[in-house]
């Protein structure tokens, strides 16, 4: 008797007790559906968090110029200029995993428009800053090459600055004074809201690097191309450690530094990512626990019904043995029945999970992502449950003596 015939026999046996088969499968159906839905919502939540962290810059390094020791007194970070625009260019060009490396300067100052004033963060940037920090210009435009090269008096402002100085009015083309210098607004950034520390990310103004360097900072700069920081965006978060190492050696080489304390400092948001993955692990652990409990209960249901089925069909087993079924064939028949129950239950549970996930996504606004491995794992696992919980009843059936089984009332 080959396995195909046995499969057929098992299918007939399940069809004969259709209602009972469906009720038995229900445990597995609900278990598998619950597992898949929870994992889908978990994956969706993870995706959402990833997107959020990406928008905050989870794949971003900031390289600061470090304050140097000057006769024993240590200057503030970034006050002594070691880094230049060339270093930013070198990072971008020589480290393949780096998307973009944007040089920046910072200055402080007061913005005055009409009778209003405001003091945002003033950043000297070039056009790479938009890619490096995922900014979009929602009104107006970015700097032109001429503006960048000629230290033009133009600025792109954040939403908070726009609100504080212009209210609901139009900001584009207006002139504000920055430390008494008139500057024309040519663009407005999109809104990012608060970061995880509660700081307003929209409270800033971008101006060309040279404009800040020459016209606002009043800094005494050690080099005409000096910058304060480089914002480095990496293509793939997983390359962060590698990129950090490459940047470190590249910058040490370029700045001719062999000290234990180089004249720069590399910072990133890896702490945040570490926290995220820790939270996710706890979350996934909980899901796995709930999942295994529901599948366990389903599996016990299968064993229960299979035991009832063996008892109820004792005479049938006796007859099959009398007409020539070997014990191992009987065993196989009941195992296949259990696996078929669980496999079918798993498949139906999967279909249910897909339906529920999709409706949750459309009607309740959840992000649900069903990954292929989850599908394969849950259906495969439910078949394993069938083997595991079907084994004992099948052994019981195979161990029956044909005469006792035939006489069973």
């Amino acid at each position: 008797m080959n396995s195909l015939t046995l499969l057929n026999v098992a299918a007939v046996a399940l069809r004969v007790n259709l209602l009972r088969s469906i009720l038995t499968m229900l445990g597995i159906i609900i278990g598998v559906a619950a597992v898949i839905i929870m994992l889908a919502l978990g994956a969706g939540a993870r995706y959402d968090v990833d997107q959020q962290i990406k928008s905050l810059g989870g794949n971003v390094f900031v390289v600061f110029a470090r304050g140097r020791f000057m006769g024993g007194a240590r200057e503030a970070s970034g006050s002594s200029q070691g880094l230049t625009e060339m270093d930013a260019l070198a990072i971008e060009q020589q480290i393949p995993q780096v998307n973009v490396a944007a040089p920046t300067l910072r200055a402080s100052g007061q913005l005055i428009y009409g009778n209003l004033n405001w003091a945002p963060e003033i950043h000297g940037v070039d056009n790479r800053i938009y890619a490096a920090q995922s900014w979009q210009v929602v009104e107006g435009r970015t700097f032109s090459d001429t503006e960048l090269n000629t230290a033009a008096r133009v600025a792109v402002i954040g939403q908070t600055v726009k609100r504080e100085l212009f209210g609901a009015g139009d900001a584009l083309g207006q002139t504000v004074r920055v430390n008494k210098m008139p500057v024309t607004i040519i663009g407005v950034l999109n809104s990012k809201g608060q970061n995880t520390q509660g700081n307003d990310q929209d409270d800033l103004i971008f101006m060309p690097l040279d404009t800040v360097r020459k016209r606002i900072a009043g800094m005494t700069l050690s080099s005409p191309k000096a910058i304060r920081a480089i914002i480095v965006q990496v293509e793939d978060e997983r390359d962060m450690a590698d990129v950090e190492q490459q940047m470190d050696s590249l910058l040490r080489q370029r700045l001719r530094s062999s000290d234990s304390e180089p004249p720069f400092r590399i910072r990133n948001l890896s702490e945040m990512i570490a926290t995220r993955s820790e939270t996710m692990q706890i979350f996934n652990g909980l899901l796995a626990a709930v999942a295994s409990v529901s599948l366990l209960v389903g599996g016990i249901g299968i064993m229960n019904i299979m035991l009832v089925s063996v008892t109820e069909r004792t005479r049938e087993i006796g007859l099959r043995m009398a007409v020539g079924a070997e014990p191992k064939v009987i065993m196989k028949q009941f195992l296949i029945e259990a696996v078929l129950l669980c496999g079918l239950g798993g498949a139906i549970g999967l279909a249910l999970a897909v339906a529920v996930s999709l409706s949750l996504q459309y009607f309740a606004g959840f992000t649900a992502i069903i990954e292929l491995y989850v599908v394969l794992m849950s259906v495969g696992f439910s078949c394993l449950i069938g083997i595991f919980f079907g084994y004992y009843p099948a052994t019981k059936a195979a161990g029956l003596q044909p005469i006792d089984a035939l006489r069973y009332e």
Binding site: M1, T5, V9, V12, V16, R315, E316, G318, L319, R320, M321, A322, V323, G324, A325, E326, P327, K328, V329, Q401, P402, I403, L406
Partner: protein, 250 residues
Amino acid sequence: MATAVIATRALEKHYQMGGQHLRALKGIDVSIAAGEFVAVMGPSGSGKSTFMNLLGCLDSPSLGQILLQGEDVTTLSAAQLARVRNKYIGFVFQQFNLLPRTTALDNVMLPLLYSTTPKHQAISRATECLQLVGLAQRMDHHPSQLSGGQQQRVAIARALVNQPALLLADEPTGALDTETGLEIMQLFQQLHQQGKTIVLVTHEPDIAAFASRQLMFRDGELIGDKGSQPQSAAAALQHFRQQRLAETAT
């Protein structure tokens, strides 16, 4: 003497029941030749059912030997016994033991599922056997759609489908009314005339009289073994029907 279909030598079966040692069979020597129609008789507890189970290779003896077509089947494993039953023995039971919600044809095919017979051959042989027992028109019926007599005919077809050397029937008329029982006995006599070897267990002397040889058991011992000219079941059936007709007329 030609090789017997089945022979027993000093066959004993012992049971352990509630600490008590029970000798259900006490040294039985019987040889059944091809083409015989044997009735095994005796009151309940006489050991006739135990004897039947041993002949059917459903159980192993405690002592002694069973030779099936000259081969010793005494010490075979459960799996080997299953193959022997599948190949050489056909069973008919008192309670028919058909699979519910399964067509007559599939019921008859059941023993062939456990052999290496190809499916198309299994179907043609099962069809032949159903024709032989007169149920060619009811192959697609489920047991619940058949009368008791028809169900027993399906069971007989199932017992014949593997062309067994030995047909074993355990009280085949026990669950049937007299008339249907006689019809079934008529069928067994027809099979006997076609050369089948049949062993039939019964406690009714009337039924045993249709066989050509009677074995009497009492307290685990064989106390009688006689051959006789079998009565005709067809004649008995005719007589029964005439009598009933006469009763309804009066």
